[in-house]
């Protein structure tokens, strides 16, 4: 336990230390770099020695600080999520960090971090906290050992064959971009670019450019597979003690626990590429988390669609919200998908056409036309995917193409409606309906719904709320209210 903070401090200051050593060896002043090593270690030891926590009197308390004493305290029944994160250093020492999410207030102080707990003690603490939070077994003596619950069989376990989905997720592209960015940074730092004699490099032909692009695209595949492996290796989803437990990670392992009562719905990720590979991914819409928190938590990484749909059905105790038919948004909404995708992307080909007609090169036409073609594919997919429903007590919405999501939010967790319409939308009789929920940024958005459908849905989902604001007939008599 003692080692985590000092080791981590040294690692965190490693760039500074390196700099100090380099500066020290250049300037010849020895005392500097000893200080540079010593201060982080002393700070780490001090932080460790001055941190205490206890669970007593129905509260979790964390005190820390030598000069500035800082006490964090929260009632146990406010605990909404418990995360166990172990970095490689932690794992080497058999330790973990417990993060207790309480959803109180809007600041970081709402979360309690207990760093450097032995793994077994941390799991025990998590059981204690979640049992309290879900209201089972209210006031047990705090010192009594908690009988370990019989380990529930995992619902889903990682299968190496899932790696085939890695190239079909946007995450792979992001990781690849980060890697390329990092590489070019490295080249910059080591001045490799400047050593390359530009004049000696032959001007690449069009073919070579195409080749380089293809090689880069091919590189994305292994990189995204590795990224998927690092995040999701050893993935397990279990349900016990009234909570969902997700654990995963190749190097840094994470165990996230979600109180079942706080799961307000699910968000099914079915991006275009992932759909073509017959894969899906699932996140939970979580309520009662901090207002700034994302309001969602991963349940299943990109995995075979059938399996993901099963988990979704279990979470909602009904399959209808995730597999049932959706109500179409009508021709105006579909047309809007096309205009929004095609109008902006048809400008570059037109410009390229003008350039080539006025004696410029003709080849810019090709990539710009390809872009337009891609926009058409996306528009068609977006148009066909648009839909909404109110089934089995869930508000369901589907939209998007490359990052299409089908979201289902329990009606009981809807805490307000936003209806937003630009002048264009109003002209077409469409509106964007947002069902807000008490989960951070969590909200379900129904894009471009016909106004009548939006109001009908809002009224049916929360009876009595929107009803009082319904428009009466043009004559203004309350009796003229249309039946619905």
């Amino acid at each position: 336990m003692l080692l985590v903070h000092p080791v981590r401090e040294v690692l965190r200051f490693l760039p500074v230390l390196l700099g100090l050593f380099l500066a020290g060896s250049a300037g010849g002043g020895p005392p500097l770099h000893y200080l540079g090593v010593l201060i982080p270690i002393v700070l780490g030891v001090l932080r460790y020695l001055t941190t205490r926590f206890r669970v007593a009197d129905g509260r979790v308390e964390l005190r820390r600080g030598l000069l500035n004493r800082h006490v964090l305290s929260t009632p146990r029944d406010r605990v909404r999520t418990v995360d166990l994160t172990s970095t490689l250093i932690h794992r080497a020492l058999g330790l973990t960090t417990v993060r207790i999410g309480t959803g109180t207030g809007g600041s970081d102080d709402g979360d309690l971090d207990l760093d450097g707990l032995p793994v077994e003690r941390a799991r025990e603490l998590r059981r204690e906290l979640l049992r309290e939070a879900t209201g089972q077994d209210g006031l047990g003596p705090d010192d009594a050992p908690v009988p370990p619950a019989p380990p529930a069989p995992p619902l889903v376990v990682f299968d190496p064959s899932w790696l085939r989905f890695a190239p079909f997720t946007g995450a792979g592209l992001i990781v690849a971009a980060a890697v390329f960015g990092g590489l070019s940074q490295l080249l910059n730092v080591t001045d490799s670019w400047e050593r390359v004699d530009v004049s000696s490099v032959p001007v690449p032909s069009e073919l070579a450019v195409v080749g380089i692009v293809l090689v880069l695209l091919l590189l994305v595949i292994p990189i995204s597979v590795i990224g998927y492996l690092i995040t999701n290796w050893g993935f397990r989803l279990t349900r016990s003690d009234g909570s969902w437990h997700v654990s995963r990670g190749l190097l840094t392992t994470r165990e996230t626990s979600l109180d079942e009562d706080r799961v307000a719905g699910v968000s099914l990720g079915e991006g275009l590429a992932l759909r073509l590979a017959r894969g899906r991914q699932l996140t939970a819409i979580v309520t009662g988390v901090d207002r700034k928190a994302p309001g969602s938590a991963g349940l299943v990484p990109p995995a075979p669609g059938r399996l993901v749909l099963d988990v979704a059905a279990r979470v909602m105790e009904s399959e209808a919200p995730i597999t049932g038919r959706l109500r179409d948004h009508g021709p105006a909404a579909r047309r809007r998908r096309w205009t929004r995708a095609v109008v902006p992307t048809s400008v570059p080909p037109l410009l390229a056409l003008v350039v080539s007609l006025t004696g410029g090169p003709w080849w810019p036409l090709l990539p710009t036309l390809a872009l337009l073609g891609l926009a058409c594919v996306v528009a068609a997919d977006r148009a066909s995917g648009l839909g909404h429903a109110l089934v089995e007590g869930y508000v369901v919405a589907r939209s998007g193409s490359l990052a299409r999501r089908r979201e289902a939010l329990a009606v009981g967790d809807v805490i307000g409606w936003n209806l937003r319409a630009t002048w264009f939308q109003r002209r077409l009789g469409l509106t964007t309906l947002v069902a807000t929920t008490a989960g951070g940024r969590g909200a379900v958005t129904l894009v471009d719904v016909p106004v009548g459908d939006a109001v009908t849905l809002a009224d049916a989902a929360l009876p009595g709320l929107a009803e009082q604001f319904l428009a009466t007939s043009e004559t203004g008599t309350p009796q003229g209210r249309p039946a619905h």
Binding site: I415, R420, A438, A443, L462, Q468, L470, A471, S473
Partner: protein
């Protein structure tokens, strides 16, 4: 109330919220937009004096845009901005080009904020912000008469208190 072509009853729509904000809000918004626009024009003027790339006609175009904005948008905004509080819900309509209606049930209200900005105080106006547990659900009513705003805050606080639960 039936569609002539299909014989179907017309779909339900929401009416406007009952109350407009104070007429003085127009002047307040005009002043605010005017001050911001003036700053922009002055910056553009300084740039035009010091840089060759910025021409005077650009500054003139910007000035025209600012004047048009000040003349049109606050008036438009005033026509759109409306609010209403019933026993069970708060209902507002804001925006100008994009119009947004928000409904929050009284039982979900967490905080009620009353604020008087520097310019708003000149006009005896105030704004009331009602937050729910959602980051997307905060309801803000700008340009209310100070007395009306105070009364609204009192009403909302009393009614939100009367509902049990932690509003999540």
């Amino acid at each position: 109330m039936t569609d002539a072509t299909t014989g179907q009853p017309t779909p339900p729509t929401l009416r406007d919220p009952a109350h407009r904000v104070s007429p003085r809000a127009r002047v307040m918004w005009q002043l605010g937009a005017g001050v911001e626009g003036l700053v922009l024009v002055v910056i553009a003027g300084v740039l035009a004096l010091t840089m060759d790339a910025v021409r005077w006609w650009m500054v003139l175009a910007l000035a025209v845009a600012v004047v048009a904005y000040v003349a049109v948008v606050p008036q438009w905004r005033y026509l759109v901005h409306r609010w209403e509080a019933t026993d069970t819900a708060v209902y507002t309509q804001t925006g100008w080009w994009a119009r947004e209606r928000r409904i929050a049930p009284m039982s979900r209200i967490q905080t009620v904020d009353y604020a008087e900005g520097a310019i708003a105080r000149l006009f005896g106006l105030a704004s009331v912000t009602v937050t729910t547990a959602s980051a997307a659900g905060a309801i803000s009513i700008d340009g209310l008469d100070r007395q009306v705003a105070r009364r609204l805050v009192d009403d909302l606080t009393r009614q939100a208190d009367a509902v049990e639960g932690d509003a999540t």
